[in-house]
């Protein structure tokens, strides 16, 4: 592994999972699977001393270093990182908000294509995650299963023959598996049917939550669907519950709602998404919330063929790259909120006015 604290290069490119490729990528942004694992011979994080945490971090790092295929993997010590750099990794979905805000020894290992990351000393000693673009859970499960096997070869996990993999929170025990699919559902929001989706999810043990919003405010019409249960089912069955059963149904609802919007008033819809693109590509200052709001419309416009010449991958990237820490990393300096609004507008203008192709954005 490469020990690293400088990842400015990341700000100029984006992870594989944002490409806007993979099955159903007009609606499904990404498929993510994470596994929670703990070492057998340490208390869980909340009851760890500072020395315990240091010792866990060292133990796991040494084991990871011994994995041959991981020579290119970046290893980042989060304790030494500035707040803005930690925020950057949160925006990028490579670490959780919880580990960013925590204290003490903690780290993350990231593969060069950003398809997997391993957090050390989050709520559990190890949180392994794999992210793929589009609805691609089966291959994501295959990848994470292999990763888990590699780590397991070197680490003695806390495992109980009846309870399965032991975790700090009993809601994760058993498989330690959380399958999360991020969906873009603007038409269900516009047609006010999103509540139906919420309700049908509760009956089948699946959780839905809005994304990117602060507090209770959902922005950008992104929703994350995850399994609620982790014990008593095989991993493949939990993956199938979300990927083969629940998500395709939501996709169907969203497609119907999009068809309805097109039939009901294509001109209005075309006008609405074109105005959104107009604002994003000409505004001189723009807030993060407003950006999300209009990017969501533009993304739908692109997917419905109402907006041409803007690749969906570019829109996906703009959702991430216009967030506060990304803008500041790109500028290489700290910016206040109003400076960020100006910077964001410039950045959007640059990427949406046709001067840059998708390739150049990478």
């Amino acid at each position: 592994m490469i020990r690293d604290s400088d990842f400015d290069d990341l700000a100029h490119k984006s992870g594989e999972w944002l490409r806007g490729t993979g099955p159903e990528s007009d609606i499904v942004i990404s498929s993510r699977i994470r596994l929670a694992r703990n070492l057998a011979d340490f208390p869980f994080i909340r009851r760890c001393s500072d020395e315990d945490r240091i010792s866990i971090e060292r133990t796991i790092r040494a084991k990871m270093d011994s994995i041959d295929e991981w020579r290119e993997v970046r290893y980042i010590d989060l304790e030494q990182l500035s707040e803005i750099d930690r925020q950057f990794l949160v925006e990028r979905q490579l670490i959780s908000r919880e580990i960013a805000d925590a204290e003490g020894s903690r780290a993350v290992a990231i593969d060069p294509r950003e398809q997997y990351s391993v957090m050390i000393n989050e709520e559990d000693h190890l949180r392994i995650q794999v992210m793929h673009s589009g609805l691609d859970l089966k291959s994501a499960w295959q990848s994470i299963d292999e990763l888990d096997d590699k780590l397991e070869g070197a680490i003695l996990y806390a495992f109980h023959p009846e309870c399965g993999y032991l975790t700090a929170c009993p809601t994760n025990v058993g498989t330690g598996l959380r399958v999360s699919v991020m969906l873009h559902l603007p038409a269900l929001v516009i047609t006010r049917q999103i509540d139906k989706v919420f309700r049908s999810m509760q009956r089948i043990n699946v959780t839905v939550r809005g994304l990117y919003g602060e507090g209770s405010q959902y922005t950008g019409d992104f929703y994350q669907v995850s399994n609620q249960i982790t014990l008593g089912h095989r991993e493949q069955d939990l993956v199938a519950l979300v990927g083969d059963d629940v998500v395709p149904r939501i996709i169907e609802y969203e497609r119907k709602a999009r068809d309805f919007l097109v039939k009901q008033g294509q001109q209005d819809l075309h006008d609405d998404v074109s105005r959104a693109l107009g604002i994003l590509s000409t505004a001189k200052k723009i807030s993060s919330e407003e950006t999300m709001h209009y990017l969501s419309k533009v993304r739908m416009g692109v997917n419905l063929g109402l907006i041409e010449d803007v690749p969906v991958g570019t829109i996906n990237k703009l959702f991430i790259h216009t967030q506060p820490a990304h803008l500041q990393k790109l500028q290489g300096r700290l910016l206040g909120s109003s400076d960020r609004n100006v910077e964001r507008a410039t950045y959007l203008q640059c990427h949406l006015s046709g001067k840059l192709s998708d390739g150049e954005l990478n």
Binding site: P43, F159, H160, G174, R209, G232, R234
Partner: protein
């Protein structure tokens, strides 16, 4: 129609099917509907709290509850009261020590208490977690006071436990 909680127009009409007195129709504005639906979409901590509340209503007397709250894990020292408040356990051995108390909780959350998924090739026996944690602590203390002979004895003991666990896992794997 107005929202039943404020003056705004009700744009969400939600039929709650899980109410004990039969379906209940709610008329809500967007803001209150989101609040309501979000509360319903349970977070892990909320579902732990919910599951615990359910469990604690099931015929336990105050005295029984007070006794349970004081029960402590001999390895990590966490009390059931602390677990109940934070929703987080203190160490792997808690699943053995609080086993009986966790069963109703796991049933409420997962509708199951038995793992049927992936198993590691190597795992320590369930009841050896306490010993593993304690021995590793002792080993670190031994290293600190430069008693390397004792540290290496403990290291051997740890390896023996790990190997015993592996054999046990493999044996049970073969039976399946």
């Amino acid at each position: 129609m107005k929202c039943q909680y404020c003056e705004k127009p009700a744009t969400f009409h939600i039929t709650e099917l899980t109410e004990p007195d039969g379906p209940q129709v709610m008329h809500l504005c967007e803001e209150h509907a989101r609040g309501f639906l979000q509360k319903e979409a349970t977070t892990p901590t909320a579902s732990i709290a919910g599951a615990l509340a359910k469990q604690l209503n099931l015929g336990q007397t105050k005295q029984e509850l007070a006794e349970l709250d004081q029960k402590e894990c001999p390895v990590c020292g966490i009390s059931f009261f602390e677990f109940r408040n934070t929703g987080r356990l203190g160490c792997p051995f808690d699943y053995t020590h609080f086993s009986e108390d966790l069963i109703p909780l796991l049933t409420n959350i997962h509708d199951s208490v038995v793992h049927i998924g992936k198993r590691p090739r190597r795992a320590a026996a369930a009841d050896s977690h306490a010993e593993l944690i304690q021995l590793r602590r002792e080993m670190e203390e031994a290293v600190e006071r430069e008693d390397y002979e004792r540290a290496s004895e403990i290291r051997d003991a740890l390896h023996r436990i790990e190997e015993a666990g592996s054999t046990e896992q493999n044996a049970s794997g073969e039976e399946e």
